[in-house]
């Protein structure tokens, strides 16, 4: 969907716009049916001849209004308590890689980080995070295969306190939002972390793959229903997916995109910039 809005300019050149076609192409851009309808009715209400550029203008304005201008930064607690980040999402979206990227970013800002390998299920998931922990020189807490992921996070908290780390990053196993038992397991992690510090986990970040279509909104709905999300990481924006779905997620659930992933290396990671997203990516 590279330059998705620009493609609209080329397609809708004639002043007599096929409204159904426009609505369908907005949906095809992963902006979701609700927003697509709003954009179309807004355009229809304008009593003048419209061109492709007008469409893009109106669409961009709508998206701008939905996305917050800035999002909160990740700052450590002043009292020295570790800030706990729980990284969740469906299978293969980029949770483990994003956990490493976040750790790198925080270390770069001068903070001490502890990693918890709470995916005790998938083959070599622990080893994967372990490789990152070695490369980043960040301590890692792990448990035996198929052990309780909540216990790993609990131990991670203790390790963070002991080593005086400002952040604990918990990488969890991939789970489809339709799997009841796995969603319950995640709620348990959430509960158990709360025993150490009632406000923990302080950030619950859902990782979403930019290649995902309409299902991403459904994923966000279900995860948000299970545990309150505080932000999104949209990954694989170096591919052809442009992450249009983060707009309906913000619109419906008010969960802001915090970071974006742009490759497989730790540096391929940025804080989300809504202005750039609207002006360039979309």
């Amino acid at each position: 969907m590279a330059g998705f809005f620009k493609s609209l300019i080329q397609r809708f050149t004639k002043p007599d716009i096929d409204w159904d076609d426009l609505e369908a192409s907005l949906i095809a851009g992963d902006l979701g049916p609700k927003l697509a309808l709003q954009i179309v009715s807004d355009l229809q209400a304008q009593q003048r001849k419209l061109h492709g550029a007008d469409i893009v203008q109106v669409a961009r304005d709508h998206v701008r209004k939905i996305l917050p201008e800035s999002v909160p930064h990740l700052t450590p607690f002043a009292d020295g308590r570790p800030k706990v980040l729980l990284i969740v999402g469906v299978n293969g979206v980029g949770k483990t890689t994003s956990t490493a990227k976040l750790a790198h970013l925080l270390q770069h800002a001068g903070h001490k980080v502890v990693l918890a390998a709470a995916d005790t299920f998938r083959a070599a998931a622990v080893e994967q995070l372990q490789v990152w922990s070695q490369r980043l020189d960040a301590p890692l807490v792990k448990g035996p295969p198929n052990s309780d992921p909540a216990a790993v996070c609990f131990e991670g908290y203790e390790m963070a306190v002991k080593t005086g780390a400002s952040f604990l990053l918990c990488d969890t196993a991939g789970r489809l939002h339709t799997k009841h038992n796995l969603m319950e397991e995640m709620k348990k992690i959430h509960r158990v972390l709360g025993r150490k510090d009632p406000t923990s986990p302080h950030e619950i970040i859902l990782v979403v793959d930019a290649t995902t279509g309409s299902n991403a909104l459904q994923q966000a709905r279900e995860f948000h229903k299970a545990i309150p999300l505080t932000g999104l990481i949209v990954t694989k924006l170096d591919g052809s997916g442009k992450g249009g779905v983060l707009v309906p997620i913000q619109q419906e659930l008010k969960v802001p995109t915090r970071f974006i992933g742009l490759g497989e290396k730790v540096e391929d990671f940025q804080a989300f910039d809504s202005k750039r997203f609207v002006d360039e990516l979309l």
Binding site: V90, A123, A124, E127, Q128, L217
Partner: protein
Amino acid sequence: MFSLLQEKLEDAFRKLRGTAKISESNIADAMKDIRMALLEADVDFTVTKDLIKAVTETAQGEDVLRTVNPGQMIVKIFHDELVKLLGGGATELDLSPPQRILMVGLNGAGKTTTSAKLASWLKKQGKRPLLIALDLYRPAAITQLQVLGQQLGVPVCVPPAGETDPVKATRAALKWLDEQGGGVAIFDTAGRQEVDDELLTQLKQVRDLVQPSETLLVADAATGQQAVAVASKFNETVTLSGLVMTKLDGDARGGALLSMRQVTGCPVKFIGVGEKVEQLEVFHPDRMAQRILGMGDIVTLVEKA
């Protein structure tokens, strides 16, 4: 989403049924709803347009307006058209010599897991599967395949320590294969984005060395509108022979499969329905069509009628 779609289609359907005299414009209204449903199921924009056109023509040709139940009839035509697009009956895996299967796809699609699933499936067929690790990039990708191979009791070829060039690793693997005295070799490659020319060229070099009998594109059921670009680029680069759709145990409708099928002409060989190695199934176009349309019950109903 599932129930929402179903409701929408049933609505369109009811609208049609409720009208005493069904006109062409009624049909056009229903088509609009169905188009939206297909788009929401991640069917490609152009594929959707073509599909609607084809169905509208068939509907006119068969004089749907005169049938007792035009709504059901249209649904049935849609379903049949989808089944046709998805490729008719189930297709077998090509296991002719050199019995080599190359797994390719985007990052995190499920290649490594599906490699192990295929090995398990082949074993059950009385074949001798062999797993070959060619992902030198993702941390612990080799260990992942080793662990899975161990669980299954299937030999795993790992690249020489410190090797970073997948082409060299492929040469070493082919030597290893020669020593194995036969078997079906499954090559697990690193994930890559279809816009990354460097990594695609590398994949092509691996392919040219392996000369696989099957090159399978592994794709996530939740893939959106990029499906066409992804499938056509992989097909151009390594000439695909089949598709595998993973994570169909979730609620993604999998409309991307239609686009991938259309653009590559390759049959769908398997579907993944879970994280465990035995959760691999043979593909049924009719079930998939019903899933994409979100109207399983209606179709069964029409068939009974």
